[in-house]
C-alpha cells in the first residue's frame, strides 16, 4: 500500500514540472498530425497491457491493449509520455516517427524502498519482521491536528481508539495488537531514536514515516518492546535550491454526535412514573389514581402542560441544555511552513507549525495552542565523517476550566430540563447542583504550558581502511517543562426563590475564596548510543551486522505552591495570596531512572532470496534488584523470496513479488513501579493532635525481592507479495503471543487478616494472544484516472491463562481466566418482564417488578444472585479494526477517501440505563422511547427507575461502527495560471473532512467510539486549506 502511494506521490510532484516543459514546448509551435503506433514491453520482452500513452501537455491519450499495442494520432513534434505503475515513466520525442516501441524499466525506487526498523532501516523486499509503515504525506491528509487520531485504521495491527475529542486531551489510546497483558499495554514510542511521549503533538508536515514493530522485531528494544514499538522518523533536508512550502488551513469543528436528551414534559412524565414505582405501586395504588392524587403525583398534569407550553419560563422551564451551553461549531487553524535545501556537504530543514483549536462550550475558557519548531542539519565534514543535529520544540498551551470535563458533561447532559439555564431576564441560574456550565468562565482556569525541547546530535564515521564498516553515535538530550496553573474563583449565580419571588444572589459550591495552584515539573532524558555497523556484499552474499551500546537516564521533579485568600483575582500570581500559614501549602517530589543496554543485529541474505536475521538486546534496567537487572531478549527471523526463484517465475509469471517469512523471539515489558524489591516508607498519613498535624510515615507495599519483567514470546508467520506488476498487492500475517511473568498481586489468595500493607506485584500472570492482519491493495490507471485502493484489517484476541483470582467455586463462569483481558461480568438479560404471568413464572430478585429486565437464572438454581453473573467474552477494546483508503487522481484533481471502523467490541453504558431515578438526572431519548409503562405493557425498554441486581447485558451494546474517517479533495492550480502570477512552482487548494459520516450498529445515541456519552464528544472537522511550494 505504501509503495504505491509513494509512486503516486512522486508522480504528483513531477507533474507540474512536466506541464511546465510542455508549456515551453507549446510556444515553439505545432507540427503536423501523424498516426503513431507501437508496442510497450517490459525488460523481459513481455507485452504490457494497460499502459498509458499520452501526448504530453494535452488530454490526448490512449491505453495499450492486451498485447501491449497502441495507436495514437499526434503532431509530428509531440512528446509522448508512457507511464505504468511500477515502472519508470518514459518521455519520447516523436520527431516524425510513425512507429515507436518502448521498453519500460521496472521502477527501482520501489525495489529500493526501505522501512525504518529499530536502530536502522531495511529494504522492504528483504524485510522479515512484521513491520508496517505509513508515510508522512498520508498523515497530512487528515485534518485532525492530533497524529494519534490520524493513524487510526492506517496501520494493520495498530488499534487506536479516540475516547474524547477535547482539544489537547484528544490523544487516541494506542495499542499494538490489542491488549497483551493485564498490566500496562502502552507501546513504546520512539521519535528519532529516543523514547519520547508527545507523538500526538508532532507537526504532521515534519514526519517522514511512522513504522510499527509488531512482532519479535521489537526485541531490539528489549525490556520496553513487549507491547510493540512505534518508530517515528522526521524529514531531512534535501540537496538543492531552497524549497519553501507553506500550508494553511482553517477548519470548523463540531461534535460528531450529541445525545438527544429528554425535554421537560417527557422528563416530568418519566419522573412521575419512577416516583410511582418507587413509592406507590407496591402499595397497590393504581397509576391513574396516583396521577389523580395531588399529594402523590410529583408533577401534576397541569404542571406538565405548563412545562410544555412555556407560559412560565421561570418556574416551568423547558431547558435545552445542549443548545444553551454548546456552540454550533468551533474553529481550528493550522499553519505550517517549511524550507529545505542544501549542498552536497550541508543539507538543512527548518520548519514551523502553528495550531490553534477552540473548545465547544459557549462559556468555557477552553483553548488549545501549539507551536512546533524544528531545525535539522546534516553536514559531511569529509568523505568519511558526517555529523548532524536535529533540534525541535513543541510549545503547547492548554487552557481549560478547572472543572473536569466529565463533570461538565454530566452537568450538561444529566441536568434536568426542568432546571433553568438562564432566566428570561438574563441572570444565570444554578443548574444542576449549582454547577451550571454557563458559569464556567467565572470559576477560574486550569492552564498547562507543556514545552518539551528535543535535541539529537549524531555522527557517522566510515572507517576508511575497512570497506563497509562504520560507526554511528548519537547523543540526545530532552528537556521538558510543564507548568500547570490552576486558579479557582468563587462564583455566584441567581436562584429564583418561589416564596419571595426574588432572584437571590448565591455563592456557588466551589471556591469561597480565590485559590491558586502553581506547579512546575521538569523532565529530562539523556540518551547516548553508539553502534558499529558492517555492511557488505560478497557476490551473491549480503551481510549486515551491527552491535551497539546505549545508556539512558531519566529524571523528573516537581514543585507545587498553593495559596488562597487572594486580595483580588486580578493578580493571579502566588505572591498575591494570603501569607497566613493556613492559607499556604507546597509540595514536591522527584524520581530518577536509568538503563544500560547492549544490542545487535545480524542480517544475511543470499541473492535477496534467502533471508536470515538475528537480533538481540541485553538490557539492564534499574527497576530490578541488583544481580537481576539484566535480561537477554533475542529474536530470530527468516524469509524466502519465492518470486526470485526461477521455477516460480516460470510457473506463475503474473507474480511480481512473493515472500514468506517467520519470526520468533522474546521481548520484555518493564513498565512497572520502581523499587518493588525494597520495603519503602513514604511521608503521609498525618494525624492531628491538639489542633495541628503530626507527621506520619506509611509503609509501601511489601517488597518482592524477585521482581522482574514481563516476557512476551512472539511468533509470526507472514506471506506478502504483489501480482500483475502491482495491480494487486497483499500481505497476510498470523501471530501468536504468550505473555508470562505478568506482574499481578496475590491479593486474591492472601487473606486481609494478615494485614499486609499492600501486596507486591509478583511475576505470576499469563496471557495468550493471537490474531492476524491482512492488507490488500490495488492500483491502476484508466485513461487519465490514477487510482488506488488499499484495505487492511487486524484481528486480535487475548486470553487470560492465569491470574491469581479469588476462587469462584459456585460460578466458574465468572472467572477471569479463559476470557480476554478486561472482560467484564454481567447478568444475562432476556428482554423485560412484560406481563405479570412472565414475572410470576421466572425467578427474580426482590424489587423486580413489571417492566424490569428479565435476568437469566444462569446457574439454574431457581433464584437470582451473584452466581448468575457471567464473564462476557468481548471488551471495549475492539478485536477487529479495519481501514480502507482510496485515492483518485484525475488531471488536476485528487480525491482521497478513508474509511475506518471496528467490530467485535462491546461497551456497557450504565449512564444510558438511567431513567426517572430519584436523583433528578435527565435521561436519553432513545432510552425513554418504547419504555415499559402501565399504558405500554408491550414496551421493549425497561421501565423508568428500573431495578436490576447489577450490570446486565441489556445495556451492553455492540460498538461496531464504520466511518468515513477522512476525505480530501484537492485541486492543483494548472501551471499556466501559476506562472501568470509569478509563482514558479505549485499551488494546491483542498477541502477535507474528518469523522464525516458514521454508521453505528447499536450504539446510536452517542459516538460509538466512546464508552459513555458523558464525555467530550469526538469532533467532526470540515477543513479548507492551501499548500504552496516555491
Amino acid at each position: 500500500m505504501q509503495q504505491k502511494l509513494k509512486i503516486f506521490c512522486t508522480d504528483l510532484n513531477r507533474f507540474p514540472a512536466v506541464t511546465m516543459f510542455i508549456l515551453l514546448l507549446g510556444f515553439s509551435g505545432y507540427g503536423q498530425e501523424i498516426a503513431l503506433s507501437g508496442t510497450v514491453t517490459d525488460s523481459d520482452g513481455m507485452p504490457l497491457p494497460g499502459v498509458n500513452v499520452i501526448e504530453l501537455g494535452t488530454t490526448n491519450g490512449v491505453v495499450t491493449d492486451f498485447d501491449g499495442n497502441y495507436q495514437i494520432s499526434v503532431p509530428s513534434d509531440a512528446v509522448l509520455q508512457i507511464s505504468f505503475i511500477g515502472f519508470e515513466t518514459k518521455e519520447i520525442e516523436v520527431d516524425g516517427q510513425t512507429t515507436i516501441s518502448v521498453t519500460l524499466q521496472e521502477d527501482q525506487s520501489q525495489l529500493d524502498e526501505v522501512v525504518v526498523v529499530g536502530y536502522g532501516s531495511q529494504k522492504k523486499l528483504t524485510l522479515t519482521g512484521s513491520v508496517v509503515d505509513v508515510e508522512g504525506e498520508e498523515i497530512t491528509k487528515s485534518p485532525n491536528p492530533n497524529i494519534t487520531a490520524s493513524l487510526q485504521g492506517r496501520l494493520p495491527g495498530l488499534v487506536a481508539v479516540q475516547r474524547s475529542g477535547e482539544p489537547g486531551r484528544d490523544d487516541a489510546n494506542i495499542l499494538i495488537r490489542g491488549t497483551g497483558t493485564t498490566g500496562d499495554n502502552a507501546p513504546l514510542i520512539i521519535i528519532d531514536g529516543v523514547e519520547r511521549s508527545s507523538m500526538g503533538r508532532l507537526n504532521p508536515e515534519d514526519i517522514e514515516s511512522v513504522s510499527v514493530l509488531k512482532d519479535a522485531s521489537a526485541a531490539i528494544y528489549g525490556a520496553r518492546g513487549g507491547n510493540g514499538v512505534i518508530l517515528i522518523t522526521t524529514k531531512k533536508g534535501k540537496i538543492g535550491k531552497p524549497e519553501f512550502s507553506v500550508s494553511y488551513n482553517s477548519a470548523f469543528n463540531s461534535p460528531t454526535q450529541v445525545p438527544d436528551m429528554l425535554d421537560a414534559p417527557t422528563y416530568a412524565r418519566v419522573y412521575n412514573e419512577g416516583n410511582y414505582y418507587r413509592n406507590y405501586r407496591d402499595a397497590g395504588i393504581s397509576y391513574d389514581d396516583y396521577l389523580a392524587t395531588p399529594t402523590q403525583v410529583f408533577y401534576s398534569p397541569e404542571d406538565i402542560e405548563k412545562y410544555r407550553n412555556g407560559s412560565n419560563p421561570v418556574e416551568f422551564p423547558n431547558t435545552d441544555w445542549i443548545g444553551d451551553v454548546m456552540k454550533d461549531y468551533s474553529l481550528q487553524q493550522r499553519l505550517t511552513t517549511q524550507v529545505t535545501g542544501g549542498s552536497e556537504a550541508v543539507q538543512y530543514l527548518l520548519s514551523f507549525g502553528a495550531t490553534t483549536q477552540d473548545g465547544n462550550f459557549k462559556k468555557m475558557p477552553s483553548d488549545y495552542k501549539q507551536f512546533n519548531f524544528r531545525g535539522k542539519i546534516d553536514v559531511d565534514i569529509n568523505e568519511n565523517l558526517s555529523i548532524g543535529a536535529n533540534i525541535s520544540a513543541i510549545l503547547t498551551k492548554r487552557e481549560y476550566t478547572n472543572i473536569p470535563n466529565d463533570i461538565n458533561f454530566v452537568n450538561l447532559l444529566q441536568a434536568s430540563p426542568l432546571l433553568v439555564s438562564r432566566y428570561p431576564n438574563g441572570l444565570i441560574a444554578p443548574g444542576r447542583f449549582g454547577e451550571n456550565p454557563l458559569l464556567l468562565d467565572q470559576r477560574g482556569y486550569n492552564t498547562t504550558y507543556d514545552e518539551p525541547v528535543y535535541s539529537s546530535f549524531t555522527a557517522t564515521y566510515k572507517i576508511p581502511f575497512v570497506d563497509g564498516l562504520r560507526i554511528d553515535a548519537s547523543y540526545n538530550y530532552d528537556l521538558s517543562h510543564v507548568h500547570q496553573k490552576r486558579l479557582s474563583l468563587p462564583y455566584t449565580y441567581h436562584e429564583y426563590n418561589v416564596n419571595t419571588q426574588e432572584y437571590d444572589l448565591k455563592q456557588g459550591t466551589g471556591a469561597s475564596t480565590v485559590e491558586l495552584w502553581d506547579r512546575y515539573t521538569r523532565y529530562t532524558t539523556k540518551l547516548f548510543n553508539y553502534r558499529l555497523t558492517y555492511d557488505k556484499t560478497f557476490g551473491d552474499h549480503h551481510v549486515q551486522a551491527m552491535v551497539g551500546q546505549e545508556t539512558q537516564e531519566n529524571t523528573s521533579s516537581y514543585a507545587e505552591a498553593y495559596r488562597r485568600n487572594f486580595v483580588s483575582p486580578a493578580i493571579d500570581q502566588i505572591n498575591a495570596g494570603s501569607t497566613d500559614p493556613d492559607d499556604k501549602n507546597n509540595s514536591g517530589n522527584a524520581t530518577a531512572t536509568a538503563r544500560n543496554n547492549y544490542l545487535g543485529r545480524f542480517n544475511y541474505d543470499f541473492k535477496s532470496k534467502y533471508l536470515f536475521e538475528f537480533l538481540f538486546r541485553y538490557e539492564g534496567s534499574q527497576n530490578f534488584p541488583q544481580g537481576q537487572r539484566y535480561g537477554f531478549f533475542p529474536s530470530i527471523q527468516g524469509g524466502w523470496v519465492l518470486s526470485q526463484e526461477k521455477f516460480i517465475k516460470d510457473a506463475l509469471p503474473f507474480v511480481s513479488n512473493l515472500k514468506v517469512r517467520a519470526t520468533y523471539g522474546k521481548v520484555g515489558n518493564d513498565r512497572i513501579a520502581q523499587y518493588q524489591y525494597l520495603q519503602l516508607f513514604g511521608l503521609g498519613g498525618n494525624y492531628v493532635f491538639g489542633s495541628s498535624d503530626a507527621p506520619g510515615v506509611t509503609s509501601g507495599v511489601l517488597p518482592n525481592p524477585n521482581v522482574t519483567w514481563e516476557v512476551s514470546t512472539k511468533t509470526d508467520f507472514g506471506l506478502s507479495g504483489s501480482l500483475w506488476d502491482g495491480l494487486l498487492g497483499f500481505d497476510f500475517t498470523y501471530f501468536m503471543e504468550k505473555r508470562t511473568d505478568i506482574l499481578a498481586t496475590r491479593n486474591l489468595s492472601i487473606p486481609s487478616i494478615v494485614g499486609f500493607p499492600g501486596l507486591p506485584d509478583e511475576n505470576i500472570g499469563k496471557v495468550d494472544n493471537h490474531g492476524y492482519e491482512i492488507s490488500l491493495s490495488h492500483r491502476n490507471t484508466v485513461n487519465e484516472l490514477n487510482y488506488s485502493v488499499s484495505a487492511n484489517m487486524g484481528y486480535v484476541r487475548s486470553n487470560v491463562v492465569f491470574l491469581d483470582e479469588t476462587p469462584n467455586p459456585n460460578a466458574p463462569w465468572k472467572n477471569v481466566e479463559g476470557h480476554p483481558v478486561g472482560a467484564g461480568v454481567y447478568y444475562q438479560a432476556d428482554g423485560i418482564f412484560n406481563t405479570q404471568e412472565e414475572l410470576d413464572a421466572y425467578p427474580h430478585q426482590d424489587g423486580t417488578g413489571l417492566g424490569d429486565i428479565k435476568i437469566v437464572d444462569y446457574d439454574g438454581d431457581g433464584d437470582i444472585d451473584q452466581d448468575d453473573q457471567f464473564r462476557f467474552d468481548k471488551t471495549a477494546t475492539p478485536e477487529i479494526v479495519f481501514g480502507m483508503n482510496t485515492n483518485f487522481e484525475w488531471r488536476n484533481l485528487d480525491l482521497n477517501l478513508f474509511f475506518q471502523g471496528q467490530t467485535n467490541v462491546y461497551t456497557y453504558d450504565g449512564d444510558f440505563a438511567n431513567l426517572g431515578n430519584a436523583d433528578f438526572t435527565n435521561g436519553f431519548v432513545m432510552r425513554a422511547e418504547d419504555r415499559w409503562t402501565v399504558d405500554n405493557p408491550d414496551g421493549t425498554m425497561p421501565r423508568a427507575d428500573t431495578f436490576s441486581p447489577g450490570a446486565s447485558t441489556f445495556f451492553l451494546y455492540d460498538a461496531t461502527f464504520v466511518r468515513l474517517k477522512s476525505m480530501e479533495l484537492g485541486w492543483t492550480v494548472p501551471e499556466n495560471l501559476i506562472s501568470s502570477v509569478g509563482l514558479n512552482n505549485s499551488v494546491r487548494f483542498y477541502a477535507s473532512g474528518f469523522n464525516l459520516l458514521t454508521w453505528a450498529k447499536e450504539r446510536k445515541w452517542s459516538d460509538p467510539e466512546g464508552t459513555t456519552a458523558l464525555v467530550y464528544p469526538q469532533l467532526r472537522t470540515i477543513n479548507l486549506g492551501v499548500n504552496v511550494k516555491f
Binding site: Y461, A473, P490, G508, R564, N589, N596, G685, N686
Partner: protein
C-alpha cells in the same frame, strides 16, 4: 579530523559500559532501616497508627444504617435497612470504601493496622533506640490494639487474636477466638496502657487526641457494658454488669464535667475548651472534614447526606420527650406492626409537633420553621403540590425527603458554610455524658434504680430537662435509659450497636421509617407523617458477616458469623 575523533572517543569513554548508572537509590521515599533507626521517623510511624481510629464524618454516616435517618439509597449503606446486606456485598459498607460506608465493615482496615501496631511493638522489643517517651508510645499502641479489638467484637463477635506479624511466604492459619477471650485481650492491653499513660490532657492541649489512661478506662467501660449486654450475656451474669459499673465509676470523679451547652459540645473547632471530652479524633485546617456540606441541604449547596440519604427520621424526632419530661407517644406492638398513640400527659400536639420539646431536638434536627444560621427553614408543600418551601425535597434533590436535616455537629452562626471551609470540630469517641449513661445502665441492671435515675437525670438536667421521677421503675426505667442514650448520643455511632446488644433490633429495626409531610394551605399547616421505608431485620443481622472472599482466602479456617453461612 583528528580532533573530532578524539572528541568522539572522549565522549564514548565517559559513557563507557559502566553498571553504575543503574545504582539509583530511591530519592523520594524512605527505606525501612531508617524508619527504625531514627527517633523522629519511628515516632512518625507511630503517629500514623492513629489513623485506625475512624471518625464518623464520612460521606455515609452510620446513622443511615439505623432508625436515626431516612436512607434514600438502596446500595452501599442502604443495603442494611433494606435487609439486603450479605457476605458478598458487605465490603461495600466498609470504612475504606469511598463513601466511608458508615464505618460498618472494619475488617480490612482493622487487621492492616493491627499488623502495623504489632510490628511497632515487636520493633520496640529489639530496638536500640533510647528515647524519653518510648513507654508512652508503647502504651498508646496497646490502647490502639484494644480499640481495634473492641471494634471487631461488636461487629463480628470473637475474632482471631493476632499479636505478632506475618510476612509474605509465612505459613498461617487462623481460627476465631471466643468473644470472652477477645474481651480479656482488650482488658489486658488496656491495663498495660493505663499503667504507662498520663491520665489526661486538657482539650486545649496540643497533645489532646492522644491515648490517655482515661481514654483506656472509657474504652473499658464501653467494652464491659457491651459484654454484659443481653447479646453477650445470655445468663445475665451480674458479675459482668458489676464490671461494667466499676469501669464507668472509675471515671466519674476524674475531673470531667458535662459541657454546659449541648450545641457547642459538638460544633466548636478542635482545640476549644470542653471539659466533657475524654477522647476524640481531632481535626486541623489541613486535615479537616466536610460534615456540614455532606449533611445540610440545598440552601447551603450541601448534599443532604449525599443523595439526600441522611435526613433525620420522624422516628427519631418522635422520641424526644416533651419539656415536661414526658415522652410524647405511647407505643404498642413491635416491628412492622408498631402503633403509637399520643401520651395524654405529655401535652404533645400533633399539629404543632415541634413545640415544647426536649431542647436537644432543636440542637440535633433542623425542621420546618427552624431558625438556623440566620435562615428560617421552609419544608411545606401546597395542597396541589405546585408550590413548596425552599427546603423541601420538591425544590431540590439535595433536600432530604424526610423534611428534616441534621443540626448536630453543624457550624454555629459564626462559621461559614461552604465547600471551601475546613471544618475541625472533633469526632467524639468518649465523653462524660456517655460514661454517665453507661453507669446508669449498669447500675440499673444491678438493681440500683436510684443511681440509674440519678445519672440519667444528670444528663437531662444539662439541657434543662427535669429529673426522671422516682415513679419510673423497672421495665419503664430500662426504656427511659435506652431512650436517653438514643437522644443524648444521636448520630454519634451508638444507635446501631446499642439496639443490637440490647437485642431490641428485631423490634426497632423492623419499624418503618417515616418522614413528615407539611401541607400549607394559606397560613394553615397540617402535619402528616409519611411512610418512607419499610425495613427488614433478621436475627443474624445482630452481627456482621465476613466477606465470602476473605473466608475463601483463609481456606475457610475462619468460620462465618452465625446465620450468615
Amino acid at each position: 579530523m583528528k580532533k573530532i575523533i578524539l572528541l568522539i572517543t572522549l565522549i564514548c569513554a565517559s559513557y563507557s559500559c559502566s553498571d553504575d548508572i543503574l545504582e539509583i537509590t530511591p530519592i523520594d521515599q524512605i527505606s525501612e532501616a531508617s524508619v527504625w533507626s531514627d527517633v523522629k521517623l519511628t515516632t512518625a510511624y507511630h503517629t500514623e497508627m492513629y489513623n485506625v481510629l475512624q471518625h464518623g464524618f464520612k460521606i455515609h454516616m452510620q446513622s443511615k444504617a439505623t432508625d436515626e435517618a431516612f436512607n434514600s439509597i438502596n446500595w452501599d449503606i442502604g443495603l442494611i435497612p433494606r435487609g439486603d446486606l450479605n457476605a458478598n456485598n458487605v465490603g461495600s459498607v466498609a470504612n475504606n470504601h469511598w463513601t466511608g460506608g458508615g464505618n460498618v465493615y472494619f475488617w480490612n482496615t482493622g487487621f492492616s493496622y493491627l499488623r502495623k501496631i504489632n510490628l511497632f511493638l515487636e520493633k520496640m522489643e529489639i530496638t536500640e533506640l533510647e528515647f524519653e517517651n518510648k513507654d508512652q508510645l508503647i502504651g498508646e499502641a496497646k490502647f490502639l490494639r484494644a480499640f481495634i479489638y473492641f471494634e471487631f467484637i461488636k461487629r463480628f463477635g470473637g475474632v482471631p487474636i493476632i499479636d505478632q506479624t506475618y510476612n509474605l511466604g509465612d505459613e498461617f492459619s487462623f481460627t476465631r477466638n471466643t468473644f470472652e477471650e477477645c474481651v480479656a485481650f482488650i482488658e489486658s492491653n488496656l491495663n498495660d496502657a493505663i499503667m504507662v499513660l498520663p491520665d489526661k490532657y486538657a482539650s486545649t492541649d496540643s497533645n489532646f487526641g492522644r491515648a490517655t489512661a482515661d481514654a483506656a478506662k472509657a474504652l473499658k467501660s464501653r467494652t464491659f457494658l457491651y459484654a454484659a449486654s443481653p447479646l453477650w450475656n445470655e445468663s445475665n451474669d451480674e458479675a459482668k454488669w458489676q464490671k461494667a459499673a466499676d469501669a464507668a465509676e472509675d471515671l466519674l470523679d476524674s475531673g470531667y464535667s458535662l459541657h454546659p451547652d449541648y450545641e457547642t459540645l459538638f460544633n466548636q473547632p478542635s482545640g476549644s475548651a470542653n471539659n466533657e471530652l475524654i477522647f476524640t479524633r481531632q481535626f486541623s485546617t489541613t486535615n479537616f472534614h466536610q460534615a456540614p456540606m455532606h449533611n445540610l441541604g440545598r440552601r447551603y449547596g450541601a448534599y443532604g447526606g449525599w443523595w439526600s440519604s441522611n435526613g433525620p427520621s420522624q422516628n427519631l424526632v418522635d422520641d424526644y420527650d416533651m419539656i415536661n419530661g414526658e415522652p410524647p407517644f405511647i407505643y404498642s406492638g413491635s416491628g412492622a406492626n408498631i402503633s403509637k398513640t399520643v401520651n395524654p400527659e405529655s401535652g404533645y400536639d400533633p399539629q404543632d409537633p415541634y413545640a415544647n420539646r426536649d431542647p436537644r431536638l432543636d440542637a440535633t434536627v433542623i425542621h420546618d420553621e427552624s431558625e438556623y444560621h440566620g435562615d428560617t427553614f421552609e419544608m411545606w408543600v401546597s395542597p396541589d403540590g405546585s408550590t413548596y418551601g425552599f427546603d423541601t425535597y420538591k425544590q431540590s434533590s439535595d433536600n432530604p425527603r424526610s423534611n428534616y436535616q441534621m443540626r448536630k455537629f453543624m457550624p454555629d452562626a459564626n462559621t461559614p458554610i461552604s465547600w471551601q471551609e475546613n471544618y475541625t470540630n472533633p469526632w467524639i469517641f468518649f465523653r462524660l455524658g456517655e460514661i454517665y449513661l453507661n453507669y446508669a445502665e449498669a447500675k440499673f441492671e444491678l438493681g440500683d434504680e436510684a443511681t440509674a435515675r440519678l445519672y440519667v437525670s444528670k444528663v437531662r438536667n444539662r439541657v434543662g430537662m427535669p429529673d426522671l421521677p422516682d415513679t419510673v421503675t423497672g421495665e419503664d426505667l430500662r426504656k427511659r435509659i435506652y431512650n436517653e442514650r438514643r437522644i443524648e448520643l444521636a448520630f454519634e455511632e451508638h444507635r446501631y450497636w446499642d439496639v443490637r446488644r440490647w437485642e431490641i433490633a428485631e423490634d426497632i429495626e423492623n419499624r418503618p421509617i417515616y418522614g413528615m409531610d407539611i401541607i400549607k394551605d394559606g397560613d394553615d399547616k397540617t402535619y402528616n407523617p409519611v411512610l418512607l421505608l419499610e425495613r427488614t431485620f433478621l436475627p443474624k443481622m445482630s452481627l456482621l458477616p465476613i466477606e465470602t472472599n476473605e473466608l475463601n482466602r483463609n481456606n475457610n479456617s475462619i468460620s462465618q458469623t452465625p446465620g450468615w453461612e
